[in-house]
Amino acid sequence: MSGEKRGGGGLKSQFTTKSLVLIPIAVGINLVGGTLCSMLKLPLFLDTIGTLIVATLSGPWVAALTGLITNVFLAIVANPVNLPYAVVSVLVGLTAGYLAKAGLFNKIWGVVVIWLAVTLVNSVSASLITTFVFGGATGINGTSVLTAALIVAMQDVLVSVLSSSFIESLIDKGISVLIAYLIWRKIPRRFISQYASDGADDDDDDVDDVDDEA
């Protein structure tokens, strides 16, 4: 938990009370994604929607902290297996945050870029953790079965984990990014401006862009 503290202390300027309050909400959105999946019987996780929305609202470091807390929460309440994957969530938050800051969340091709970037970051970092921390699988979801099947076919643990993880995140992150984008388009613009951090002056221009389009 010292990580949270350091994240909050080193980059105080991004962490206003407004951002601070936004983080638990985003963590909640991340976790409610699982409820949504079980409600709709979808074989997905959708556990990064909150991180993605925060990435567009408050920037990369707040999104990273959101990812970290989501995994710490899951580790303590649900399963400690989730703890090492906090690294993945932090990286996904940073990637989405910096790309959103560059204005990519306003263009359709930009959303596609974010999707691919997040998928790549997620699958590579998650595979490394699955392979080197857990030895190939964690058994908490269906991907483990896919991994096992691929290992039988390809005889190589890392390649199999990477392939199954890539397929899984390509679909899961694609839908997550799409949902986050559609929701973000619907958030009232006046609401967004209050969360813009100091470093994100150009956000105002982006907001105008979207208003023009809409």
Binding site: K18, G28, I29, L40, A75, G135, A148, I151, I179, L182
Partner: protein, 267 residues
Amino acid sequence: MGNEIDEREAPRLDRWLRSLNPGAKLLVALLLGVAALVFPGPALAGVLVLVLFAVAAGAGALGSFAKVMFGFGVPASVILVFIQGFYGSSNATFIADFGFARLGLEGVLAALKTVGTVLVFLGGFFLMNRTATPSELVADLTERGLSPEAGYLVLASLNVVPQMRRRMATIQEAQTARGLELSGGVVSRLRAALPLLGPVVMSSLTDAQERSMTLETHGFHLKGARHTTYRAVRRSRADAPLVMAAVTLVVLSVVACVVTALGLVSL
């Protein structure tokens, strides 16, 4: 604290666990996991899992404890023993031949150690969550120097999740009443995700605005102000010896790890 009445009827071990300091319990749970992680081979993890089972049984929580442990342990062991046992790179001694692949001893041991270590963490956290409320834990950690912002983040996240689940259930009913299709093909189910999640996110954002205004009027952002809590943090004479014992176990595991490494036994 609705479980005050239950506490008096609970087994003595359960009452004792509850009387311990929450921070100490968190530390012991983490240290036990680290010891299992560092110790060479799955033996210590196995012993600790058995000890945790015994503690859970003594505290009258065997049923739910076993459900959590087996719910993770069984599928994870099966899949990891399969992957590591048949395809692990460290395999040298083969204990069985299945035709399509041979089962290696090293891989099986590595798989069991991984699952065992996670089970030690899982069991430790389970017992800690059972016997200490998160707010008590956060109050304790804040007293020990955790920043109030970090404490708020943890507590608010914990509170917000059940609240959002309820809100989602309400919205689901409302949207179903409007004729939203929740079953059918994958595409139509996916399409239903947005009308369900959208309103939850929007109302939560409005909620966030109110929360931040409330926090600011309460002076949460002020530096140097003392943050108080109504939670009384429990302390027990057993806290320090327990932590010491866990630290000793970690030290012994490190020693065991170094000794085996020097003895050229690779894991």
